[in-house]
């Protein structure tokens, strides 16, 4: 009986920090999954968007405002990816913890050297991101860099559980490093393979796997193609054939499905993030699925 009493005391002592779990408002599913990888049961994670949604264009919905109101930390891509909705959600949430600049506002891109930062900003060039291309999650090596910074951020916000976050990160790092080796081995046949992209959201993956981007199906970032432009794309693809035309799950399939049969290359829908396809269930299966789909297309 004494043992049980002691256990009950222990339980109440342990239960206290568990109640104080960090509430994480993750802007995209990949950061929701990463938060769970690092924080485990110490974090209570809400993903604001799904893999089927365009993270550029989300409505500042009442449900998002309510979740942001309760959050201890917002974990977002940043670099203006969420500029069309997140500032409104954060301001309306009246939550001082997650205001930009506050301790509970974390942007994944803040720890990554961004590619394609435009030298000059002019909207005649399309919908440019002033700080560079924000789609960093297409290179899994970036995930590890963000993971480290995120673990440090969790520890700073919740020092009592710092050891657990460090342990969570260490465990994730081990598994991720092994997975990276596997993916790089699997993706070896993709090196140098020419591809076309529907929207320029793949620059980090292209650099990682050594793919060659021949052309984008958008004349300018964020500007849907006209039929005249697609004719030009077909001309280019006749001279420089590609192995596949890739697009993110949330994108309108029409332009790549129009081009694909005419260019004799398959249109490949990649998950882009967790939930983009049925098999991309977590961070690991996201890259399993991406590389699987691409190597299959390249082998045809």
């Amino acid at each position: 009986m004494r043992k049980i009493l002691a256990l009950s005391l222990l339980f109440s002592a342990v239960a206290l920090p568990a109640h104080a779990a960090l509430k994480v408002f993750a802007c995209e599913p990949e950061w929701a999954a990463l938060s769970t990888e690092i924080g485990g049961k110490l974090v209570n994670v809400y993903a604001a968007t799904t893999g089927g949604q365009d993270p550029h264009q989300i409505q500042a919905r009442p449900s998002l405002i309510a979740k942001a109101r309760a959050a201890d930390i917002a974990v977002c891509t940043g670099a203006e990816l969420e500029i069309a909705w997140m500032p409104q959600v954060v301001r309306q949430s009246a939550n001082s913890k997650i205001q930009p600049g506050a301790d509970g506002y974390f942007e994944a891109t803040s720890v990554i050297s961004l590619l394609e930062a435009p030298a000059a900003l002019d909207r005649a060039q399309g919908d440019l991101h002033a700080y560079g291309n924000p789609h960093i999650q297409t290179d899994p090596r970036n995930i590890l860099i963000v993971a480290r910074a995120l673990a440090a951020k969790f520890s700073a916000l919740d020092p009592a559980n710092a050891a657990s976050y460090a342990a969570g990160y260490a465990d994730f790092e081990t598994r991720w490093t092994a997975a990276l080796k596997k993916w790089e081995a699997e993706a070896a046949p993709l090196r140098g393979v020419p591809i076309a992209v529907q929207h320029r959201s793949w620059v980090y993956m292209i650099q990682w796997l050594g793919l060659r981007e021949i052309i984008a199906l958008e004349p300018k970032p964020g500007i849907p193609p006209t039929s005249g432009y697609l004719a030009e794309v077909l001309e280019t693809l006749k001279k420089q054939p590609v192995k596949m035309i890739i697009r993110a799950a949330y994108e309108d399939p029409r332009s790549s499905e129009f081009i694909a049969p005419r260019a004799g290359a398959p249109a490949v829908m990649l998950p882009f993030t967790i939930g983009g396809t049925e098999d991309a269930k977590d961070l690991f299966s996201l890259y399993d699925e991406t590389i699987g789909l691409m190597t299959k297309a390249a082998a045809q």
């Binding site: 264009q57 409505q59 069309a84 009246a94 205001q99 090596r141 860099i145 990160y169 650099q207």
Partner: protein, 441 residues
């Protein structure tokens, strides 16, 4: 089994409380020893974890680990270098400009437009015939410091006048979900009122907004909002304002003539739909409010019910989406109208739907109607006389956007709100340059 444990736990707690009385000193001592054991065991484990943390940190401090890890020919991404220092203008506020260009064709003369039974404030008039420049807006906003955000919006009218549309400061760091706003701002009542006119789906305000709020209620004052710490969205707000914005007039009550309050809630229905519902109340005093020589002193109360529903397949609004919303207005005006006592119950509503059927193309329809009250005998043939008409209007909209920064809209209205029916045609471009602020829901 679990019941037994619970019972034992309960007995344990009780026995702990009454240990001294019951003379179970022996038990207590043993218990203390056990807790001490547990504590030292825990401390040892925490120490071990701290050591692991330090080791992990030391390891991650070596910059070479990340760069060297992947054995691929392409260089691994390096953590970002600190950004170069930027000059003083880095603190410039976000500046954006909205331009509206309009072409309007009206069957009847728009400058003589009235709604019988509803005296119209000058702001609620129709556009001029032919080509015109609508109001151009210049907006400046920034965080002033870690506690306050500021916003200033000028409207440059077609006549070359500068009006302050909004100029307010707003807190960003009050505890407990509170936000306090002060200055000149659009009242939070209703659904459309707080949104800027260029963000409305239709080119003009629907009839109830024209008749009850002179298109949009903006005034100087204070607003306090509170968002509840609930899992679902629940927000309440209260306002006190000067009392210069229609339906108030003359800054009654020593310049605190208007009070307003609202409560709103909303949520998602699955992944594709979301909704917002709102109840608003306005109480506005008038002291010698003058509309075209008609003098009113008294008070207006207005209740508004608002509903908004948005749909997009899988919540991805890029290709197709639907927005349906409607609002019902209940107004009462009581006081002296040209020295004749009045007590008028009037109401109105509108319902509209806008559907994006392919990227950058939207079509919409709107119906609006007003219900007037009969004017007292002494006020026959004034603006309060509804002339036996029941004002309504039906509109159709077609929109093409070249990007999210520029909208081109065509709108046709069969307007039956005036003394005779009117065919109205409006074409407008609305463009935004500079940083594009995020939209409200």
């Amino acid at each position: 089994m679990s019941g037994k444990i619970l019972l034992r736990l309960g007995v344990g707690v009780v026995s702990m409380c009454s240990a001294a009385q019951a003379g179970e000193a022996e038990d207590l001592a043993a218990l203390k020893a056990e807790i001490a054991d547990l504590r030292s065991d825990y401390e040892a484990r925490i120490e071990a974890l701290e050591k692991r943390l330090q080791a992990a940190e030391a390891k991650s401090d070596e910059p070479t680990t990340i760069a060297a890890a992947p054995p691929t020919p392409t260089p691994a991404p390096a953590p970002a270098a600190p950004r170069a220092p930027i000059g003083q203008n880095a603190y410039n506020p976000a500046i954006s400009v909205v331009l509206n260009g309009t072409f309007a064709a009206f069957e009847n003369d728009p400058s003589a437009a009235v709604i019988p039974g509803f005296p119209l404030d000058g702001e609620a008039g129709l556009a001029d015939r032919g080509f015109s420049l609508g109001e151009s807006e210049l907006a400046l906003n920034a965080n002033i410091d870690h506690r306050v955000y500021g916003n200033l919006i000028f409207a440059l009218t077609d006549e070359g006048e500068v009006e302050v549309e909004e100029a307010y400061i707003q807190t960003t760091s009050l505890p407990g979900g509170f936000t306090l706003k002060g200055g000149r701002f659009f009242s939070g009542i209703g659904y459309l009122n707080e949104n800027h006119a260029h963000n409305w789906d239709f080119i003009d305000a629907p009839l109830p907004y024209r008749a009850f709020l002179a298109n949009q209620l903006g005034d100087a004052g204070l607003q306090l909002r509170w968002i509840a710490p609930t899992d679902f969205y629940l927000e309440a707000g209260a306002e006190v304002m000067r009392g210069d914005g229609f339906p108030a007039g003359g800054a009654a009550n020593n310049g605190a003539g208007t009070y307003a309050g609202f409560v709103q809630t909303g949520g998602d229905i699955g992944v594709s739909s979301s909704w917002l519902a709102k109840v608003s109340y306005l109480r506005a005093k008038s002291d010698q409010r003058d509309i075209n020589g008609d003098i009113f002193s008294g008070r207006d109360t207005l209740g508004i019910l608002s509903l908004v529903y948005k749909w997009a397949p899988n919540g991805n609004a890029t290709t197709r989406n639907l927005i349906v919303n409607g609002e019902y207005f209940f107004g009462n005006e009581r006081g002296d109208y040209n020295l004749t006592p009045v007590d008028l119950d009037r109401s109105g509503f509108y319902a509209q739907a806008v559907y994006q059927f392919r990227p950058r193309w939207r079509a919409g329809a709107r119906y609006a109607r007003l219900m007037s009250d009969s004017a007292p005998a002494g006020l026959i043939s004034t603006a309060l006389d509804d002339l036996g008409r029941s004002p309504d209007a039906i509109s159709a909209l077609l929109e093409f956007d070249t990007s999210e920064f520029s909208r081109f809209r065509l709108m046709y209205t069969y307007d039956n709100s005036d003394t005779s029916s009117n065919n109205e045609f409006l074409a407008r471009y609305t463009v935004i340059f500079g940083p594009h602020g995020a939209h409200r829901f």
